[in-house]
Symmetry: C2
Subunit: 189 residues, 2 copies
């Protein structure tokens, strides 16, 4: 999606450790017009997916998932992150390693809001190594629901997450797919 | 706002410890149509406020703040929560005690995105004792910016947060204002 690619080229910053900082429009400060447009693009892409629910994870996936939910007329389920492996009744949980923070978290959702009847479109801000995606897919599988797609606003293709998701038969869509990046240079796929 | 009050009466659950659970539409599972309507109501209320920026705090304020930002054509700045008092260059920080979790967090924003020129509308999901509000107002004050209003989707009036905010000369608006609540009964103001 050219709108997002142009924004990344203009305002994204490549930091040490293969980190792309998009704090100015996607994470910390939210460009509401841009994110609304991302939501509409996601809706167009998955118009025939039969999705019944959007699933995301707090906190930087929320705005994008919300914009997609608005455009598709669907509710959004926000997986919570917890430092502890919070195994209690009534929740599905999965471990997720955070690439940015180098910590392991647990993601969890209430089983009240995710059922075997759901067709789930997962939406997140980044797809890199696929750790968060695998955790969210595990929640969907535990509920006996079906994942109809995985969407990332930004994919870092060289980190291999896409193959893990596709191996589960789940289609992957990224709005900006980065092939290579280094300070001062970002090359899209 | 009748739409939200009706939803709270139908689906909200009053838990021990004076906690109102609205997980099914406002926090965990997001009712995108309802939250979009909340955003429009906030925009109408603050149409003449001169706001240049919406400020919220992760993660349950994000969707409501985003909907308000969309309706007002404004960006949203999402204050991050940290367990540690993260005093580093380039950020404004303030301590916040969480009523629900009984823990103290630090909220922080980058000084890159909040300046003395900003007129800030603060938007959060709840106003209770006013702890989160005071932390966010402190960030605005540190930047030398002006707070033009504080909005909560749901106010628990009996916990006194409103008076603290109004004492700073900042107008408070809540979309649903709860006067009293106990199991099975919620009374609006």
């Amino acid at each position: 999606m050219k709108l997002l690619e142009d924004k990344i080229l203009r305002e994204g910053k490549v930091l040490a450790g293969d980190i792309l900082k998009v704090d100015g429009f996607l994470n910390h400060r939210l460009d509401t017009a841009l994110i609304t447009a991302l939501g509409k693009d996601i809706a167009k892409q998955f118009a025939n997916s039969g999705a019944s629910l959007i699933l995301t994870v707090e906190s930087s996936g929320i705005a994008i998932a919300f914009a997609a939910g608005q455009a598709m007329g669907l509710p959004v389920l926000v997986a919570k992150k917890s430092k502890t492996l919070n195994i209690s009744d009534g929740v599905y949980t999965a471990p997720v390693f955070s690439y940015t923070h180098k910590t392991e978290n647990t993601v969890l959702v209430s089983n009240e809001y995710l059922s075997a009847a759901d067709k789930v479109l997962i939406v997140d801000d980044f797809l890199a190594s696929g750790n968060a995606a695998m955790g969210l897919l595990s929640l969907v599988e535990q509920a006996g629901a079906k994942a109809v797609g995985f969407v990332a606003a930004i994919e870092k293709a060289h980190q291999g997450g896409r193959a893990l998701i596709e191996a589960k038969g789940v289609p992957v869509y990224s709005l900006a797919c980065i092939k290579e990046m280094r300070a001062g240079e970002i090359i899209f796929d």
